[in-house]
Structures are given as C-alpha cells and as structure tokens.
Amino acid sequence: MYGGGNTFEKITATKLEDEDPILLQEFEEKIAKGGKIEPQDWMPALYRKQLTRMIEQHAHSEIIGALPEGTWITRAPGFRRKRAILAKVQDEIGHAQLLYSAAETLGKTREAMINDLVTGKSKYSNIFNYPAYTWADAAVIAWLVDAAAIVNQTANAKGSYGPYSRALDRICIEESFHLKYGHDAVVYLATGTDMQRQMVQEALNRWWKPLMHFFGPPDKQSKHTEILMRWKVKMGTNDEMRNQFMDMYVPKIWELGLDIPDAELGKDEETGIWSFADPDWEEFKRVINGDGPLNKERLAVRKAVENNSEWIRKAILSPESKYVVPLA
C-alpha cells in the first residue's frame, strides 16, 4: 500500500551523456508513444537504478506495512472483522511478493533486497513507523493509508516499466477492496457510541500528519524529477498526488462528522488546490533517517524473522539449486 515513486535517497546518477545516444533516443521515443519497457530491453543505467530502488522500497513498504495492522488480527472485534483484516494483511504480503519479483527482473535478488532492508540501507514508507494503538487505528490505516496508496499506485500503474505496471494493476484491484473494508470499519466507529467515535477521532488525529507526509515533501522541480517524469517512472508530483488525495477524501472524512486536525485546511475553489498547515517536514526527515517512533522496532521484527528462518532456507536449499531471475 504505497507506490509513491519517492525513493528518499540521493541518486548518484550515471551521466546521461555516457549512454548510447541512439539507444537512448529509441528508448525515449518508445516511452513517449506509450510503449512499455520490458526486462530484456535496453534501458539507461539511471532508469534501472531508480526503478530498482522504487519497486524495492514499495515492496519493503508492503511487508513493513503489514506490521501495524497485523497486530490487530489477534484483537479484531468479532468474526467479520477478524476474517477481513486477516485477508487484508495477507494481501499486503502478496503485494510484497509480487513487487520483489518485479524488482528482481531488474537484476537485484530478493535476498539482497531483504538484506538491505534489515540493515537499514534501503528505505520504506515513513508512515509505517507510527504505532497503531487501538482498533480504530487499524480501521483508519485500512481506509486512508490504503486510499493514499491507491492515488499513487493508480498513477504509477501507467508508468513505463512493464513488470511494475502490471503488478500495480493487480495490486490496485485488491487495494480498492481494502479501501471499502477500511471505510466500512471507520463508518461503524464514526456512527457508533461516544466511545467508538472518540476512538476513531483520536486515531485520525494520530494519522493525519503521517498521511500528509506520505506523499513526500513539497515539489521542487529538480532535474531528476523532470527526467523521471519524462521516462514515466514517476507519474505525478508529490503535491499533485497529495492534492488529489485531499480532494477525494477530506469531504468523505467530514461527511462522517470527524474533525481533521488542521486549522488551515481549505480548498481554493478556483484553482482546486488544497491548502494545509506545515505538517512538520523536520519530523518527516527525522523519521526517514531512522528516528521515528517505531523504526527500530519495525526493523527488529524483520531482522528476527530473517534470523529465525535461516535454518529453513539452509534446510531446503539443495546444493544443486540455482538462482533464476523471475520473468514478470
């Protein structure tokens, strides 16, 4: 449930001037015409590098994203919710599996990616470093974090890399179910007892700032963003995606009688642009760099999973087995 196209890491670009100009021109023409780039096709080093990071971070965001909601599978209220949240979190793991395979087509193994995740070398979406204190947090995540992800993913599904784009098409279908499930869970709380209303309001208060962070910092049209948008790696700017999310969901939140904790929130009807208070971009940077409420715990869980399962990988790995890059 991510797919933002932000990598939050400095790109040390291979100079485009070093690329073969004819191949580069063909590559760009193909993309401009709406063609897809496939694993065996020629691609500039920068494209390969950026996409690998982007898909890898998306995959990491799915498995780390399973953790805050995953803790509520055992505490969901009643059969209907328990079965639904279990299915939902399972989907996220399925998305991770799909995305790691898509990233592998660019030449990096799943093992190497997981290794980079647990050592802190590669990033994942910041939002999953925040805690889910109550059932209402799980409901708000399923509705609004998944909604935010859909905004990103629907845009990026139109991107130029075939395996990623096809993976996103499939993911978006499942995410739209999550959104319905999350919305339903929030509606029950928001229209329930005072206690339930308070629970969901408090959860929204906790998640609003991370949701604004979710789309990344405000646009600064760097040279890279231009190239990446031309190559259809990134399909919309952070501000465009955030604005689209607010346009779709702020009215729906208000409809439920919930307050959004931002006094400056409002829409300019002429431009269609939403204004909002500074969601503390310094905090965003701190969390990206590892100093969020749960960064250490999230990675510790993943590390424990890797350590505890090492014996299984060794036990089933036949000495004759060979690594095969998956075909997307």
């Binding site: 055992t74 599996q97 206690m195 036990a315």
Partner: protein, 248 residues
C-alpha cells in the same frame, strides 16, 4: 441434541483456536510464500468456526461472536494441541501437518452425518481442507528431508513434542457413544485409526521417526486447558469486550 452440540462445539472451538494461532504468523512468517499459505489456512479455519457457531446458533445457542469471543476458557472444548503458542515455524508446521490430516479425515466422515447441515458443510469444506493437507504434507516431507542436521533435529524434536498432544485430538467427548449412535459422526476411534495410517505413510517418506508409546495429552474435550488458552482468549476479545452490545 446435547450430543450434537458437543460435537459442533469441539469442532468450532478447534477451528477458531487453530485459526487464531495460524493467523499469528501473518506478516511474520519465515518466507512470504509461507506467510500467504498460513494466512489462507487461518482464514479457512476462522470461516469454518464461524459456520459451525452459526449452526449452534440455529440450535438455540448464542450468536457466533458471543460463542467465539465472549466465553471463558473453561467453557471451550477444543483439544489442548491447538491452543499451544505458535512457537517457531518448526512446531507450527508439525502441528499443522498432524492436525489438518485429522481434520481431513474427520470431514470426510462428516459428509455422511445424520445432521444434514453438518453433512452439507463437510462436503463443502473438504475441498479446502484437502489443500491444507497437501500443504502440510509437502512441507513435512521437505523439512523432514532437510539438507542440514539442524533441520532434521528440529523437526524430530517438534514431532516428539507434538505427537502426544496430537493424540489428544481424538479424546472422546463425554457423549461420544450418543454421537455415534445418532449417526452424527463415526467417532474418534475410527478417525484416529485412519489418521495413524496417513501420518505413518508421510513420515515414512522422511528421515524422521514417530515417537513410540506416546501417551495422549487429553482434557480439552472436558474443558480442561493449559494457561495458554485464557491468555489467547483475553487478547482475542479485548476490543469486543470494550462494548460487546454494539456493532463494530
């Protein structure tokens, strides 16, 4: 009627508890593929529990959420095997293998139950449980033929530990005779016999050995449980208990 309810309760409680336990792996299973498999099986089990509680509701008991989430541990009739914590993957896999093979045989016989709703349900469920068994057997064979000494040692240890509990699955219910006489179910002894044959044939394809002279760990069918069940139920019901009278 009480005998029928007893049968439905023990099956529903088994399914809920094992479903909850398997769902504890969601998000943290050893490999993504196993995460998906355990999550799928957990969903099936929870679905079975839900349907079986609904069947009890039809017979005059409370609704499924009340039966599943709001009874106390000493009202549960599941076998103790399913309530044990998930431990490492080796234990969870061995339990899944031993338990699901019993489930499969149980549902096969239940397809002929004199209680038509149960027979109908069993015929539907058997297709799902067949996949659970395929998964359990495949992984048992895989890790039971580990390429490493550690793998084999772990699997053997867990098999030794789990087997007496697995035998407890077939503990007779207080109304065992009536359950059989009424034709609700063929009875635990028949299931156990077929189960032993299946387990032996799968284990024979591995480098593992079944422990000999194991004594069944029983009690669950008579409401006797380990401390793990109450801890589990407390966690499971924590949200619903905030206000069980409203919809969530």
């Amino acid at each position: 009627m009480e005998a029928l309810k007893e049968l439905l309760f023990k099956m529903a409680d088994d399914s809920l508890v094992i479903g909850h336990r398997m769902g504890e792996w969601t998000g943290i299973a050893p490999m993504m593929e196993e995460d998906l498999a355990f999550s799928s099986i957990a969903q099936d089990k929870l679905g079975h529990a839900n349907t079986l509680y609904d069947m009890l509701h039809e017979l005059g008991e409370a609704d499924a959420d009340t039966l599943g989430f709001l009874r106390s541990a000493n009202e549960f009739r599941n076998c103790q095997f399913v309530e044990l914590p998930i431990g490492d993957y080796d234990f969870s896999l061995v339990r899944h293998f031993l338990f699901d093979n019993a489930e499969f045989i149980r549902y096969k016989h239940l397809a002929n139950s004199s209680h038509e709703p149960l027979a109908k349900f069993a015929r539907k469920v058997i297709g799902e449980v067949r996949y659970h068994v395929m998964h359990g057997n495949a992984w048992m064979k895989k890790l039971g033929n580990s390429h490493t000494a550690e793998g084999l040692e772990r699997m053997q240890q867990q098999l030794n530990f789990a087997f007496p509990y697995a035998l407890g699955v077939f503990e007779h219910s207080p109304s065992e005779n009536e359950i059989k006489d009424q034709g609700y179910f063929v009875g635990e002894d028949t299931v156990k016999e077929e189960w032993m044959n299946t387990i032996k044939s799968v284990i024979a394809e591995t480098k593992l050995t079944l422990p000999e002279n194991a004594e069944p760990v029983t009690g669950g069918r008579k409401h006797e449980h380990t401390e793990h069940l109450s801890t589990m139920l407390e966690e499971m019901s924590v949200t619903l208990r905030l206000d069980p009278s409203v919809e969530w």
